[in-house]
Amino acid sequence: MKKVVIEPVSRVEGHGKVTLHVDDDGQVQEARLHIVEFRGFERFIEGRPYWELPLVVQRLCGICPVSHHLAAGKAIDQIAGVSQLSAPAEKLRRLMHWGQTLQSHALHFFHLASPDLLFGMQSEVEKRNVVAVIEAYPDIALKGVKLRKYGQDIIKAISGKKVHGIAAIPGGMNRALKPEEIRTLKEPLNDIIAWSKDAVDIARSLYEQNQPFNANFASLSTPYLSLVSSNGDWEIYDGNMRIKEPNGDIFKDQYPCSEYFNLINEQVKNWSYMKFPFLVEKGTEQGWYRVGPLARVNNCDRFSTPLAEAARQQFMAQSSYGLPHATLAYHWARMIEVLHCAEAIQDILNDNDLTSEDLKRDGQRQATGIGVIEAPRGTLFHHYEVNEDDQVTMANLIVSTTSNNRAMNESIRKVANDHLSGQTLTPELLNLVEVAIRAYDPCLSCATHAMGKMPLQVELLNQQGQQLDKITRSHTGEIA
């Protein structure tokens, strides 16, 4: 078997390396996305007092600190013996999470994905970057920045700070919103909803403009895992798990998050720091699944807000049989979620509970806590065990990028098989591989940002492990 290596993946968080293993017939038998940053999470957490967790886990990821904060918050609620928050506390957490999802999706779509979508994957490399978007579509770029800022404003209002804020505490929330803060957040909401609707229209029309190519590109027929509410609504803060088969049949429904370890196991491979989760009943080869916006939109029965629900119905209508499986449809699904978050934020900002001081519940101390939420990139599991001295003795985290690990590898393999010509790696192939990975919006670095740390590489290897070709894009964008 021969091997092709692509490194590094640009506009994907962190730095990575892709190896393509080809057989004697030139078919890519296996693609491996090597990610070096996912290590040490559990070691970082173990030994700390449990009540510190919502604060310290924010440092795991510079992209979605709020997701880690709230997942840890849910886990320590259970350790504090609280199974049901007060209504005001839960509403504040939901508002914070909608703000987080809105800003995260906006950043990804407008800043990272839109160059590929607006200019096309085959356009010249120099054009596929955010500067070109700003030059050609300044209105779109500015809307993206403002959506992002609005989500951040919500997070800051609730947690008190842009970073390292304290919102979730054991059994509740740290503070309520003030009426003047709510008034300020309400002011731009009509624009936020209008821009979110525009974003759905942009994502949908870009997808439909080249539907045959986009539907096939990096497409995989997989099961989907996500949370849903008790009545099957789209849900990102609470609820239970639903898994759908590729044809849309339900494999598991209302599966309790507290028993996730009976549903999912993780396979370790000697070439990757990142594990490979799989559904226990289906086994390692058949049990891999996808999470994130596409999974959530495919799995839910409905959105609870009218504009997002209308957009969902239009989205689902693209597939006459089974579920939409196009990897590039992640972008479209992502923008539907932005629209729902904007609508949900508008609704909840009219709720008087947001200013209530009934924020904390108490209970009988427990030894275990499992917090599961939907982070922007997919289902996020935080599982802790603590001793009598309140120290964490066991931590298990399954982050959403890990759940999509196998899927990213399979999408790369499909792209390479569809577009690799001979034994030569081209900048065009490098970019197509990046586009496939980017659709999942993986977060590879989890919080280092420093200059000089962000490159990616692709390598082609034969069956003997000999390198046939290699292509690298440096952190400054140069290809070598």
Binding site: G40, P115, V131, V145, S445, A447, A450, M454, G477
Partner: protein, 176 residues
């Protein structure tokens, strides 16, 4: 956010960038914390030239362009893994080259943020400088490496000197 005391001074926005739990990546926030402490300890005689606003971020993101409003100057404090020893003080600007080069991450380098400000707002982009500190270890762990502590001390001295220097002197000291 901590502000200096008068409106007549040069408005300086100081950004400390980094993650306190990522080894030497903590250099930016650490230097920012030292500056904050210095300002609290020296309310009467410090910062004669500048009205300072302090901001901290894990990573720079597009919405940070709105922090530039009403600022006269910007200073970014950051770890830099391209060198391990010492500090580097540079004048930086947003230009299209910087933007084209910097598309590899969710995070933005300062040059790209400045360029986005220039392109997306009607305001004049303030002059900007970067004080970078050499960094080596950025694994998920707490605490600076010994070399990073040395670099931090050097950067602190330079920063305090700069805060008693005019804009012309900043320009003279900076490499381009």
């Amino acid at each position: 956010m901590l502000k200096g005391d008068t409106e007549s001074k040069i408005k300086l926005l100081v950004y400390g960038i980094g993650n306190a739990s990522r080894g030497d990546d903590a250099l930016g926030p650490e230097l920012l914390a030292r500056l904050k402490q210095h300002m609290l300890n020296n309310q009467q005689d410090a910062n004669n030239l500048f009205q300072i606003t302090l901001e901290e971020a894990f990573q720079l993101q597009p919405e940070h362009i709105y922090d530039f409003e009403h600022q006269d100057m910007i200073l970014f404090l950051d770890a830099d893994a391209r060198f391990s020893e010492g500090t580097c003080f540079t004048k930086i600007s947003g230009n299209s080259l910087a933007m084209k080069q910097a598309y590899v991450s969710h995070a933005l380098p300062p040059e790209q943020l400045l360029a986005m400000h220039e392109s997306l707002t009607d305001e004049e982009t303030p002059p900007a400088f970067a004080l970078s500190m050499g960094a080596q270890h950025m694994e998920l762990e707490e605490g600076l490496s010994e070399q990073a502590k040395t670099n931090l001390a050097e950067a602190e001295q330079l920063l305090l000197t700069l805060l008693n220097s005019s804009l012309d002197q900043w320009q003279t000291q900076a490499t381009i």
